[in-house]
């Protein structure tokens, strides 16, 4: 099997063979959501960090009894899988005040599902002197809760080592992305999303080796020029590669993104000498941000335009989950900026699972026609 095939296989199931193997050897697995929760802390405690991505969830009957049809289907799908036992392999979860939906996901999980270990983080909504210190203290509390719950000691040395490990992974993921800058990218956007999700579903050391092989294999690939438009995805949480595949089935190629499951997750290294917790706090808060961070719109936009230029993007799809107010408000800012930039742009509201595939394709085709019109 190629590295890509192996990674795609890992991504397919929430509870795959890699995790089963880890558990059989006595390993612990802790689920988390959101890119403001550093995996390094769990990793330094010898625990497998597992980012929740409710792959395969197609309906939320049980979860709808707790939440409602006015809550986003990402949160509801996570709860659905928890309520139906799909996440029973988890030894705990760490959630945070990401948004209204995920804040209440914690409460519903606590009362509706339960877990041996549950930790909740309050992450600031802006950066600056005071919030930075608050976030650092939150990381210390998170670290201490892991130590207490799992009887481990997370030393500075272990944390520094975990930071190095994750930095190597960030570097490898960036290398894969850089290959997509080519006129003939060797990997599709939908495949890339599976590579990313696989990283949340296997031990870090296994993932690192697979990524090294992937880079080596893709560097030798000729790549494809069989596409009519290079697209970038912006907006809220999206790990559903079927959504990207539906876009690419129209003949477009997703070459870049600014998603939390995508480039925002790994683009910047964790840097800083000395206290590793301070380094984590500084780096995670200064990463390209989520719309939950107020006042950061210009920085988010700068990151987005850099990605557009770097990946020679022809058009942008701004996708967001229905009922997500954060990205539903951010579109106000982005829409204006896209108008000023003059790059073809489309706003798509979607559910977590792929639905209305034909309508989606029709809309992407319309975007492609606009792009084609600009070329003439």
């Amino acid at each position: 099997m190629t590295a890509l095939e192996e990674l795609v296989e890992l991504a397919k199931a929430p509870y795959n063979d890699a995790i089963k193997d880890w558990k059989e050897k006595g390993g612990k697995v802790v689920g988390f959501i959101c890119s403001y929760i550093p995996e390094e802390i769990l990793h330094a405690g010898g625990i497998l960090p597992y980012r929740l991505a409710p792959t395969g969830c197609m309906e939320t009957t049980e979860a709808d009894g707790y939440m409602s049809h006015f809550n986003c289907t990402f949160a509801r799908s996570c709860l659905q899988l928890a309520l139906t036992g799909e996440y029973n392999f988890l030894d705990g979860i760490v959630l945070m005040n990401s948004c209204d939906h995920l804040r209440r996901l914690y409460d519903n999980w606590k009362y509706g599902v339960g877990s041996p270990y549950m930790h909740y983080m309050n992450v600031p909504h802006r950066v600056g002197e005071g919030p930075d210190g608050w976030y650092r203290d939150e990381l210390i509390q998170y670290k201490e809760s892991v130590e207490e719950a799992f009887g481990v000691k997370i030393t500075d040395e272990k944390l520094a080592s975990a930071i190095d490990t994750y930095n190597r992974i960030r570097g490898l993921l960036k290398k894969v992305y850089e290959l997509r800058e080519r006129d003939r990218p060797p990997i599709k956007g939908s495949e890339m999303m599976q590579v990313l999700v696989a990283g949340y579903r296997c031990p870090t050391e296994q993932y690192e080796k697979l990524l090294e092989r992937l880079v080596s294999e893709l560097e030798k690939e000729e790549g494809t020029s069989d596409y009519h438009a290079r697209l970038m995805l912006m907006g809220g949480a999206c790990d559903n590669w079927d959504f990207l595949k539906a876009i690419e089935d129209t003949g477009a190629l997703v070459v870049a993104d600014t998603l939390c499951f995508g480039s925002r997750y790994f683009w910047n290294m964790v840097e800083g000498d000395g206290d590793p917790i301070s380094a984590l706090a500084k780096s995670y808060l200064s990463n390209p941000s989520c719309a939950r961070m107020t006042g950061n719109e210009p920085e988010r936009w700068d990151f987005a335009t850099q990605m557009m230029q770097r990946f020679k993007v022809d058009g942008v799809i701004y996708q967001r989950l229905r009922w997500c107010d954060l990205w539903g408000g951010e579109a106000f800012y982005v829409g204006e900026k896209m108008k000023e930039l003059g790059l073809p742009f489309m706003l798509l509201e979607r559910e977590y699972w792929l639905s209305g595939e034909e309508q989606l394709k029709t809309r992407v085709q319309a975007l492609a026609e606009v792009i084609e019109g600009r070329r003439r």
Partner: protein, 413 residues
């Protein structure tokens, strides 16, 4: 294009007219609101700094600094309550500018009114990082579009001393921001003077709360407390003093505010701004007296220690994190239960009405746990009814009333 409307003048005019129409002995009822809007309109006329603040903020610091501040959500509610359907015009403009239709309508009104020029840009925008995502994103977005400096008062969930100290520091950072951009200063003595009025208002507000716990309740429902705008002003203190006097007089008279009170209800969420008669209908047709509301019952706000600036900031921080709606929506559900369960007992509630406003995603996501806990622990039923706080086009008044009717005719029969 429709002619530009000077919204600030309109709001000042309407609130003054409403107050003028009252008999002299009841002029205190609308005085705080009328003075608030008059102050804003006058400052605008004179070209003085004006701030916008979000819901859940304590207004005392703005008063102490002499900066008239508009809590934007009040415009959302007022534009929905007044004739002319201005709310619909503004909401449509917000949607045309890609604000999602499910973002809170109170803030969509702000966006639309600002974009069409009816609402002049402020000097500064200060928004609290509470109680919801909609607040979080809309103030930030409009500040960039208008080119107005923004300060986000970061409020973590939770109510412990660590949070209090952090929010007190945040308030000082907010003051520094306002001083930098408005040229106004916060003097300790002036803050103390304002806080004295605030303390008086809150002390009487606590007495009023106690009166509304009586059976029958002697006072009319309070859908929103004027303290959100007027805490720290003489008229704010006067309002609660008079309300307390009125309540005690009614108690002495031996009657409740509503004859034949059948059910004592708590309204633990927003309401329907466009249907002002909804609660009269509830009283008249079903004998339902609303005795406690999320936005009108201000609790958990101890008198602020005035001995030092730091103590005052800590007191304001406590108010901030316990502000109505933040109290319910911003922390964990356990925090909400800690407030809601004693509230049900203290106010002797027979039923809780939880309007599920489309903007309040956290309330939507709490509905089952909340409803079950109240039923299991207290035997109190909860009516869940879908509404949009400031846009009557989303859920019609007829459908809302039909749902309420069904509930009281069947569940409570």
């Amino acid at each position: 294009m429709a002619e530009k409307m000077e919204l600030l003048k309109v709001l000042a005019f309407v609130t003054k007219m409403q107050n003028d129409a009252q008999p002299d002995e009841l002029k205190w009822v609308g005085a705080a609101r009328a003075k608030h809007w008059a102050r804003i309109a006058e400052a605008h006329e004179r070209g003085e700094p004006i701030n916008w603040n979000s819901f859940c903020g304590s207004p005392e610091i703005f008063h102490a600094m002499g900066i008239p501040s508009i809590m934007q959500e009040t415009i959302g509610v007022m534009s929905a309550m007044f004739p002319g359907k201005l709310n619909e015009k503004y909401i449509d403009i917000a949607h045309e500018n890609l604000i999602a239709d499910h973002v809170c309508s109170t803030q969509k009104v702000m966006i639309g009114a600002a974009l069409c020029g009816d609402l002049p840009p402020p000097t500064t925008i200060v928004h609290a990082g509470q109680p919801c995502d909609s607040t979080m994103v809309t103030y930030s977005a409009i500040s960039h579009r208008l080119g107005v400096p923004l300060f986000t008062l970061d409020i973590p969930g939770g109510k412990n001393e660590r949070v209090v100290q952090y929010v007190a520091d945040e308030l000082e950072r907010m003051v520094a921001f306002l001083e930098e951009h408005t040229g106004k200063k916060l003097e300790d003595d002036r803050l103390r003077e304002v806080m004295e009025y605030s303390n008086t208002a809150y002390e009487y507000s606590a007495k009023v709360n106690d009166l509304t716990k009586l059976v029958p309740s002697p006072l009319p429902r309070m859908l929103a407390t004027p303290l959100m705008d007027s805490a720290g002003t003489p008229e704010g203190a006067e309002y609660y003093k008079k309300l307390d006097e009125l309540g005690r007089a009614v108690v002495e008279f031996g009657k409740g505010h509503v004859p034949n009170q059948k059910y004592r209800a708590g309204l633990f969420s927003t309401w329907v701004a466009e249907d002002a008669a909804l609660f009269d209908w509830l009283e008249n047709d079903f004998g339902v007296m609303i005795v406690n509301t999320m936005l009108g019952t201000d609790t958990s706000r101890p008198t602020v220690d005035l001995s030092s600036r730091r103590k005052m900031m800590e007191g304001l921080a406590r108010k901030q994190i316990n502000a109505p709606m933040s109290r319910e929506c911003w922390g964990s559900l356990d925090d909400w239960f800690d407030y809601a369960l004693p509230t049900c007992r203290d106010w002797k509630l027979d039923v809780v009405i939880m309007t599920l406003h489309i903007g309040c995603k956290n309330i939507w996501a709490s509905q089952k746990l909340f409803k079950d806990r109240l039923a299991d622990e207290l035997g109190i039923p909860t009516l869940l009814v879908e509404v949009d706080f400031c846009d009557g086009r989303v859920f019609s008044s007829e459908s809302i009333r039909a749902r309420i009717s069904d509930f009281f005719n069947t569940m409570m029969a």
